[in-house]
């Protein structure tokens, strides 16, 4: 009996063992199946994602060099429609004449958007091949290694002797040419002819000197009791970039940077410019911020200093066209004004330098410079075109002269900081928070301190 029972137990044990083994096997098969299905699902998802990515990107992205075609990326400062359209048509023309080169056009709004985009692209190793940017970018981007010199191409360029010296200077840094101007925005002296007549002044003879400007401004100012209702001369009391003050400094023979690239803020030229402005500005001005609309545009001022482009709507207005005129800004020692400038630069990562230069050269031909002046009202940058440009509009000779005598922002790495300090300084003087001497010294010392001198 006992043996039988033992045998039964053994048999049951074996059966149980088999059952457990079977169950284990089954479990492992199920696990394997699970793992397999999970892996398959992952692979499928990855494959779908990859195909989606490849499909979506291949259709839109063009590589930098396809087998027979070189693609160059161009990023331009400013994204207004008229100028964007001009550049697109220029690119089309260029591509038709240069079948092996494709230009991928892109732009970004002026200011922060352009800087953010450009910084990210360069940081990500996707910097554009050709960049359209302003003077203030030169020193910092050269030092950051974003621009590469084009001196070798420039020295062989047919237009090298034709480009205005003042314009060429804007793109030159430490003896090398980095940028060539495609657009300039000089500050012009604008005045109202009708208001001149009304005040008994000759509308064809705008003020040429500082003294004349002061006298005219006083004559043209209209007051109701003590309140100025029409400014004789509109001058901003606050600004994002106080270049209106620079016009007086330049006209007095001053500069903000010396030959060694050091700041020269506290010099007699600036003090005299301040003294002149302080001598009459409160009597003739309606205060405004240069980021706002100039009172001259609103019809509340008889004279002002204004960006040539900002004046365009007024000159195009049939009711105002004959009432508004422009001239070179009045000066004390030297005929000069402030002139902004946008240039074409070659990105440091550009592998196809010859092709990039070919495009730059094409954009700077006489035909294109003239085309820009016709379609976009941009003053010319080449000396040989002055006469032809003058024929297009009665005021074009003034604009061309303003470009010729135009001076831009200092091409130094401290230029952005200078801009802030200069703005503060001008405001402090205009609002009598500091004396002229104190304000000049403060700005100079702060800047010197910040650049480690």
């Amino acid at each position: 009996m006992e043996t039988r029972l033992e045998m039964k137990k053994v048999r049951e044990g074996i059966v149980n063992g088999i059952k457990i083994k079977f169950a284990n096997r089954l479990m492992s098969i199920l696990m394997l199946k699970k793992i397999l299905s999970a892996s398959l699902a992952t692979i499928m998802i990855l494959a779908i994602l990859a195909s989606l990515v490849v499909f979506s990107s291949c259709s839109i992205i063009s590589g930098s060099n396809d087998k027979d075609e070189v693609t160059l990326n161009l990023l331009r400062l400013g994204n207004d429609m008229p100028e964007a359209e001009y550049w697109k048509s220029l690119i089309k023309e260029f591509e038709s004449k240069n079948p092996g080169i494709k230009i991928n056009y892109d732009d970004a709004a002026i200011g922060e958007p352009m800087e953010t985009k450009l910084n990210t692209l360069f940081a990500g190793g996707a910097g554009p091949d050709i960049i359209g940017h302003g003077i203030i970018s030169v020193a910092n981007r050269v030092e950051a290694g974003h621009y590469q010199p084009i001196t070798d191409y420039f020295s062989k360029w047919e237009g090298k002797d034709d480009i205005m010296e003042s314009v060429l200077a804007n793109g030159t840094y430490k003896g090398e040419v980095y940028g060539l101007a495609y657009s300039t925005t000089p500050f012009v002296f604008a005045y109202r002819k009708d208001m001149f007549k009304e005040a008994g002044l000759d509308p064809e003879k705008p003020p040429k000197t500082w003294d004349e400007l002061r006298d005219y401004a006083r004559l043209l100012t209209v007051k109701e009791e003590d309140r100025i209702t029409r400014a004789g001369f509109a001058f901003p009391m606050a600004a994002g970039n106080f270049v209106e003050f620079d016009v007086f400094v330049f006209g007095n023979g001053g500069r903000f940077v010396d030959d060694n690239g050091m700041p020269t803020i506290n010099t007699p030229e600036k003090a005299e410019a301040f003294e002149f402005l302080k001598s009459f500005i409160d009597e003739v001005n309606i205060p405004y911020n240069s980021n706002e609309v100039n009172p001259f545009i609103k019809g509340n001022a008889a004279m002002t200093l204004i960006n040539n482009v900002a004046l365009r709507p007024m000159l195009e207005d049939p009711d105002l066209k004959d009432k508004v005129a422009i001239a070179v800004p009045p000066y004390n020692k030297i005929k000069a004004t402030f002139s902004g400038c946008n240039m074409l630069f070659m990105g440091s990562g550009c592998k196809y330098r010859d092709e990039a230069w070919k495009f730059m050269e094409f954009a700077l031909t006489k035909e294109q410079v003239l085309e820009r002046s016709k379609s976009l009202n941009i003053p010319i940058t080449r000396k040989s075109l002055v006469e032809e440009f003058a024929k297009l509009d009665p005021y074009n000779s003034v604009r061309a002269e303003c470009v010729e005598v135009g001076i831009g922002m200092p091409r130094t790495t401290w230029s952005p900081r200078f801009q802030t300090l200069r703005n503060e300084m001008v405001q402090k003087v205009l609002y009598s928070k500091l004396s002229i001497e104190e304000a000049l010294n403060e700005a100079q010392n702060k800047l010197m301190e910040e650049i480690g001198q």
Binding site: A50, V53, A126, K298
Partner: protein, 317 residues
Amino acid sequence: MDRKSEREPERKAKSKPGREVVKITGIKADRKDAVYKVMTWLMVLFFTVVIGFPFFIMVSVSLQTMQEIYLPELVLFPARPQFINYVRAMKNGNWGRYFFNSGYVTLIVVAISLFINSMTGYAFARIKFQGRKLLFILLLIGMMIPPQVTMVPLFIMMKSFPLAGGNNLLGMGGRGLINTYAGLIIPFIAGSFGVFLCRQFYLSFPDDIDNSARIDGCSRFLTFTRIYLPLSRPVLASLGILKFTGTWNEYIWPLIMTNSDSMKTVQVALTMFRDEAEILWNQLMAATIVSSLVIYILFVCLQKYFIAGILSGSMKE
């Protein structure tokens, strides 16, 4: 429960001494209610004016001529409303394309992100796995880092995306996902906030739901899709709306990721009304109104979810 009904027991308690007292207290309470109502209306009116005035100015400027905008005094009602500004604004660029791009990117982002965020939120809330807390803390840290900080690394990742835009398997040689829809969509499909929101929502579910589902033979995925997802309508609606407005209004990322007019989104295109010296305010305002219409319509239709989304996390149920 409104204020009147809240005060009912108080009134009843006071009514015991007699009819006279009831009357006086009743009048006083009615007066208080009336004053409260007037005050509420005045406050609402005040805030409506404060918030609505800029919008009114935006509409007004969109209908003005540039001469009116430049006038020294503020023009509230244009002499002749210039509806043509809307036509001009829409002709100033390829707006059909910009709207398509924004709409396409936004819809895809919303659809994918809702699924991914809810699934991740579910995992954090309902599945107990090792390192769950640590992972969740890492996720919360993600919420604290401003997007500007991660912008460049993210851009590099998109540029180096394997097998895209001429890239090889190691993500080199091409331009990756730059100037592609994928490049505009992928960075937005998952986000710490969305996961956090969903997790908080799923935490309030009783454990019995999971147990019942398990007894009925549901896997985790089936439990999520068959039980949790259908019950998630409120949180998904709130998250969807926030995601929609966030993606639609995104400016910096499309700005740096796109490099052609055909890929521009509405927000990037809105900057086109400015040149070196002038801003075409009337056209800019007209285009802004048109581009905001999508959000306004969405808000009107789903405003209760908007508010729920804003309040999410502020109350503990």
